[in-house]
C-alpha cells in the first residue's frame, strides 16, 4: 500500500498570488488574478525572459501580501517548463533565497508545495516559498513549433497557460507576519502523497490530458485506499490539467472504481479559459494552469471558509520532443496534497 505523509503540524499557505497573460485575464477566473499583462511579454524582449519576469512579479506580490520580505524566506522550491528550469533561475536571480529547482512538467505546482511543506516540517526552516510558471509562447517554441507557425491543432490538444502562481508557506503555529489578519481561515497542507510514474500508453503530444489521466486515477485510488478519509470528507478533488479528454477518462474510470469521488472532481484545465474560445480545444495545460487556479480561485475560497478540504493533484506529462520522436510513450505523474482550511487565530473582524 502507498504511504501518505501526514505532516506533524499543518503547514499554512499564508499568502499566494497569480499572474497571467491576456487569455488568462479574459477567462472566467481573470478577476482572481493579481496582475495580468495583456501583451504577454511582461516588458521583456524574449518569451523566455517574459516567463521569468512573470515569476519574479508573482513572488513579489505574494511576499507583499503577507508583509514579508525576501529575507524572511528560508528556502524556495521553484519550477517551470523551460529546459533546466531556466525561467525559475532567471526569475529568482536577484532574491538571494536558497533554491531547490524542481521539474515535474505540469505537476510542478503540487510538487513544489509538497516539498516546501516537507522542508518546513523538518524544523530548521520557518518560512518557505513555492513558485511555478509556464508561458504559452516559450513552451510552444521549446516543445512544438515557432510562435508564428501556422498549423491546425487536433481537438484533443491543449493550450499552454501563460501563468504563474507563487505561494508563501509557514508553520501554522508560527504564522509569519501580520499580513494574514484579513481572512477567517488559513489554507494549510495537512498531508500529501508522492506521485508514481504511470505509463500513459500513447506517444501523442497533442493528447497529453489523456496520457496523464491514468496517473490521476492511480493517485486518487491510492490516496483513498491509504487514507482514513473518504471522498465525502472533501469539498473538491482538483486535478491539474487533464482538460476535457483526460477529465472524461478520469470520471469514467472512477465511476467504476470509486464512485463517491466523481461528484467532487474538477480540473484546473477546464476552468482557466472560456472553453468556447479559439484554439483552447481540450482546455488549459502547463504547470502555470494548476498554480494560477490554486492561487486565484481555490485558496481565496478556502480563506473565506467557502471550501474546507481540498485534494489537489497537479498532473504532469513527462516527455520531451526527442523522447516522443524516439517512440517513447508519455509517462504521467500526479502528486497529491491535502489542503485544509484551519481557523485563523489572528483574524480581526473589520
Amino acid at each position: 500500500m502507498r504511504k501518505i505523509t501526514v505532516l506533524p503540524s499543518p503547514i499554512a499557505i499564508v499568502s499566494s498570488s497569480a499572474v497571467g497573460g491576456k487569455e488568462e485575464g479574459e477567462g472566467p477566473l481573470g478577476g482572481g488574478f493579481d496582475l495580468i499583462d495583456p501583451s504577454d511579454s511582461f516588458g521583456q524582449s524574449t518569451w523566455e525572459l517574459s516567463e521569468a519576469e512573470m515569476g519574479r512579479v508573482a513572488l513579489n506580490i505574494a511576499l507583499r501580501k503577507c508583509e514579508c520580505s525576501h529575507e524572511d524566506v528560508d528556502v524556495i522550491v521553484a519550477g517551470d517548463l523551460q529546459n533546466q528550469c531556466v525561467a525559475s533561475a532567471l526569475a529568482l536571480d536577484s532574491f538571494g533565497i536558497p533554491l531547490i529547482g524542481v521539474y515535474g512538467a505540469c505537476s510542478t505546482c503540487t510538487e513544489s508545495i509538497l516539498l516546501a511543506s516537507a522542508l518546513l516540517s523538518m524544523g530548521s526552516n520557518q518560512t518557505a516559498a513555492a513558485l511555478t510558471t509556464s508561458h504559452n509562447l516559450a513552451a510552444e517554441r521549446q516543445f512544438r513549433a515557432p510562435t508564428e507557425y501556422g498549423g491546425q491543432r487536433p481537438p484533443s490538444a491543449q493550450w499552454t497557460a501563460t501563468a504563474a502562481g507563487a505561494f508563501i508557506l509557514s508553520k501554522a503555529d508560527k504564522l509569519v507576519t501580520n499580513g494574514n489578519k484579513s481572512y477567517p481561515y488559513v489554507p494549510a497542507v495537512k498531508d500529501f502523497m508522492i506521485g508514481r510514474l504511470i505509463d500513459g500508453a500513447i506517444k501523442d503530444g497533442a493528447n497529453m490530458g489523456a496520457a496523464m489521466s491514468f496517473a490521476a486515477v492511480d493517485s486518487i485510488l491510492a490516496y483513498f485506499e491509504a487514507s482514513e478519509y473518504s471522498p465525502k470528507d472533501f469539498d473538491l478533488i482538483v486535478t491539474g490539467d487533464l482538460g476535457s479528454v483526460g477529465s472524461s477518462i478520469l470520471k469514467d474510470v472512477l465511476f467504476e472504481k470509486l464512485p463517491l469521488a466523481v461528484p467532487k472532481l474538477t480540473d484546473c484545465g477546464l476552468v482557466l479559459y472560456d472553453m468556447k474560445r479559439k484554439d483552447v480545444h481540450s482546455g488549459a495545460s502547463g504547470c502555470g494552469t494548476s498554480a494560477s487556479v490554486l492561487a486565484s480561485h481555490i485558496l481565496p475560497m478556502m480563506r473565506k471558509g467557502e471550501l474546507s478540504d481540498v485534494l489537489f493533484l497537479s498532473t504532469g506529462a513527462l516527455m520531451s520532443q526527442s523522447s516522443l520522436l524516439q517512440g517513447n510513450s508519455i509517462r504521467g505523474i500526479a502528486p497529491a496534497i491535502h489542503l485544509s482550511a484551519i481557523k485563523n487565530d489572528n483574524y480581526e473582524v473589520k
Binding site: 515557432p146 507557425y149 501556422g150 491546425q152 500508453a201
Partner: protein
C-alpha cells in the same frame, strides 16, 4: 475497464478522444487553398497579358505568394488564418514560406549565426532534403530514358 495494460489504456483513450471535424476542415482547406491558387492563376493571367513569358510568369507568381505569406507571418496574422485553413495554407508555397519565416523570427533572439542561420530550415528541412533528393533521382531517370530515346 482495463486501466492496467497498454492496450486497455489505448482503447479507453481512443474512446474518449474526439475526432477532428474532417468534413469542415476539408471544406475550409479547399476554400482557402483554392483561393490562393485562384489568386495565383489570376496573377499569371495578368503577367501573360502584359507579355511576360509563361515560365517567368509562373516564377513571379510563386515569388509573390512567398513574399505575401512571409509578410502576413511577420504581421502575426498567418497563424490565425492557418488555424482555420489547415492544409489550405500549408500545401501551397505559402506554407513553405511561413515555415521558414516563422522559424527565422523565432530564432532571431538567439543570434544570426547559431540562431537564424542554424535553425531557419528546421521545419522545412525535410521538404528541402527530400525535394532535392527526389529531384536528383528524377534527373537520373530522365537522363537514362533519354539515352534510350524513350
Amino acid at each position: 475497464m482495463d486501466i492496467y495494460t497498454k492496450q486497455g489504456k489505448k482503447r479507453i483513450i481512443s474512446e474518449h478522444s474526439p475526432h477532428s471535424r474532417l468534413g469542415l476542415n476539408m471544406l475550409k482547406a479547399f476554400l482557402f487553398g483554392g483561393g490562393i491558387c485562384a489568386f495565383g492563376e489570376g496573377l499569371r493571367g495578368l503577367f501573360l497579358s502584359l507579355g511576360i513569358k509563361s515560365d517567368t510568369s509562373t516564377l513571379l507568381v510563386s515569388m509573390i505568394i512567398i513574399v505575401v505569406a512571409a509578410t502576413v507571418t511577420f504581421l502575426g496574422v498567418f497563424d490565425n488564418i492557418a488555424r482555420h485553413a489547415g492544409a489550405g495554407t500549408l500545401v501551397p508555397i505559402s506554407g513553405f514560406s511561413n515555415a521558414v519565416t516563422s522559424q527565422a523570427i523565432d530564432a532571431r533572439s538567439e543570434g544570426y549565426v547559431l540562431g537564424v542561420g542554424a535553425k531557419i530550415f528546421t521545419i522545412c528541412g525535410p521538404v528541402i532534403l527530400y525535394g532535392l533528393a527526389s529531384g536528383v533521382i528524377y534527373g537520373i531517370i530522365y537522363y537514362l530514358t533519354g539515352l534510350f530515346g524513350w
